[in-house]
């Protein structure tokens, strides 16, 4: 085994002698591993953020939205609403404890001299505060909960400092559509950039402001009674809604979606799985190209060093010794590329994460686990060894006399 250390030493020497070529080959691997690590850590981070948000919803919630979830764009842009009858139908369903209706829209809010487009959610304070506290993880950073019916609003954490030039404080006034609202509380971060940059006000005030029909809503969150089967309740809600709608409009087109938080997780999970698959496929191509680079370098190097191989064999090197030396060279190239790629990839992911913290649209963290780093290093070492195997075997099988004669 002691000689293996020497082989390693010789391999390092050989790489150093051809340092430019070695570095260029390493660069090829760096790029591939960099792609894999940065994309994987980001997509894993997004997945975790989504899961975290879903967990904060609690498993017992059901969401009812107008429109078909399989066409998300249409669902959010159609402006379809849940009518009063629909909400009644949901409330009547067996196993339903509370129905919390919500509406949201982007509006211009003025704070001091500044007007900014902000996202505004209306939800009924009376039922809402308790549910939001218990199931959405709402908590006050500052101030107090608003009183139902009063012109008081809550603001997300981002609104406090990021949206307007001047920080918004508890007690400040924000003007929306010419009406003054008093900021009474600032929420702690809700884990999503959009939620954190929203204004929250009582649903009835929201409806006055936007002209939305009283009793209607854009979305309903349903709290299921303890002991009821969430999926069964969701099915029943769907059925009741269909009947109500059929009576009213005369069609049975399913233009609403009833989703449990568990199913939402499934949907998000399957989308992320497709994205991650695509990432791995593309980054895999980059790695294969890098591997071919190693193979090319090794074949060239073996052609150049045929005579050296002959000398080593003449002085007693076994095939395995030559094989190990060349495998080490390829493996070291791969491993060095892996270190560089992992380092840069993790760095980029961290940089994006930091950028994401200040940008109002993104809000995710990169997930750089020790497992991912070990994977990056081991994987690149293996790619190196694998790409080096055929060249190394050719070197090992050279006949000493042929090798010595070559290039004489």
């Amino acid at each position: 085994m002691a000689e293996v250390k020497e082989y390693f030493h010789i391999a390092i020497r050989n790489l150093r002698t051809r340092s430019l070529r070695s570095w260029l080959t390493i660069l090829g691997i760096v790029i591939g591993v960099f792609l894999i690590i940065s994309l994987l850590s980001l997509s894993e981070g997004i997945k975790q953020t989504i899961n975290q948000q879903l967990r904060s919803l609690g498993g017992e919630m059901i969401f009812v939205m107008p429109g078909d979830i399989s066409n998300i764009m249409a669902m959010f842009t159609s402006g379809a609403k849940l009518e009063k009858e629909d909400i009644g139908a949901i409330e009547r369903t067996r196993g339903v404890e509370t129905v919390l209706t919500m509406s949201y829209q982007s509006l211009v809010a003025r704070y001091g001299q500044e007007g900014k487009m902000v996202f505004m959610s209306g939800l009924s304070w009376e039922k809402g505060i308790e549910i939001m506290e218990r199931f959405q993880g709402w908590s006050l950073k500052q101030g107090e909960w608003p009183t139902p019916g009063k012109r008081e609003i809550l603001i997300g954490k981002q609104v406090e400092t990021e949206i307007f030039e001047k920080p918004v404080k508890v007690g400040s006034e924000i003007v929306i559509k010419g009406k003054r609202f008093k900021v009474v509380g600032i929420l702690n971060s809700l884990g999503s950039k959009q939620d954190d940059s929203s204004l929250y006000l009582d649903l009835s005030l929201y409806q006055d402001l936007t002209g939305e029909k009283r009793g209607a809503a854009q979305m309903a969150m349903v709290k299921v009674r303890d002991g009821s089967d969430v999926n069964k309740v969701a099915e029943d809600i769907k059925e009741n809604l269909s009947e109500t709608r059929k009576r009213r409009i005369g069609t049975d087109v399913a233009d609403f979606s009833v989703i449990t938080s568990e199913k939402m997780g499934d949907i998000a999970g399957s989308i992320m799985a497709v994205i991650q698959f695509a990432i791995i496929a593309f980054a895999g191509i980059a790695i294969v190209v890098g591997g071919i680079g190693i193979m090319n370098t090794m074949f060239t190097s073996i052609r150049e060093r045929t005579r050296e191989i002959g000398i080593m064999k003449a002085v007693g090197a076994r095939n395995s010794a030559v094989l190990i030396i060349f495998l080490f060279e390829a493996g070291i190239i791969g491993f060095a590329g892996g270190i560089g790629g992992t380092f840069l990839g993790a760095g980029l992911a961290k940089a994006i994460e930091m950028y994401g913290q200040v940008h109002p649209l993104f809000y995710f963290s990169a997930s750089i686990t020790p497992g991912l780093i070990v994977f990056g290093l081991v994987f690149s070492f293996l790619v190196g060894c694998l790409s080096g195997f055929f060249p190394a075997r050719r070197a090992a099988n050279l006949k000493p006399v042929e090798a010595l004669r070559r290039y004489e």
Binding site: I10, A314, G316, N319
Partner: protein, 237 residues
Amino acid sequence: MAEPVIKLENVWKIYQLGKVELVALKGINLEVAPGAFVSIMGPSGSGKSTILNMIGCLDFPTQGKVFLKGEDISLLTENQLSQLRGKTIGFVFQEFNLLPNLSALENVMLPMIFQGMSEEERRERAKALLTSMGLGERIFHQSPELSAGERQRVAIARAFANNPELVIADEPTGNLDSVTGKKIMEILTDFHKKEGKTIIVVTHDPNIANYSEEIINIKDGQIIANHLTASKVLWQR
């Protein structure tokens, strides 16, 4: 007579160059006794290098047998042969053939690695060998930093590394000036005399052949004379 270090028995070597057959050796019979100092002489194309490859167990004959210390090398696997070659034979080449990436010391240590010697032992022995060659100050230099004579002395130290029975030198002075060449031959002769080791030198230079105790002339792949003095260099006539 003691068992020969190397014995060639009716050795033929035929190279297939496309459709043309080139017969390099035509039934060579040769025995080299332990402790002998033999020169093999011949003009270029006479088959000297081929015979050297056979003696050095670097190649297998097309026909006939090669025995290294009584062992038929055709029965050995390539790895066993490498091992045996590394232990029994030291090579000195005309072009020195040092590994350019390694220092003089590491070049001398190289054959010992393949024999599984411990690092300390290797280092000690390599240092001692290089010092005895007058290279004590140059052990950490790589071969491009050494003069031709120094390189050849490193190569000789490497050939002696595993204390081999047999040292084969292929035109060892071919790339050296006459003064340096003389020094190199003195080192080889010394080794032969002091350690009683077998030396086979391949050369076309009668002055070099004169150092040896036995001269074998070959021409067209055959041994044409076996004699003691270089004055009988038959092929020159």
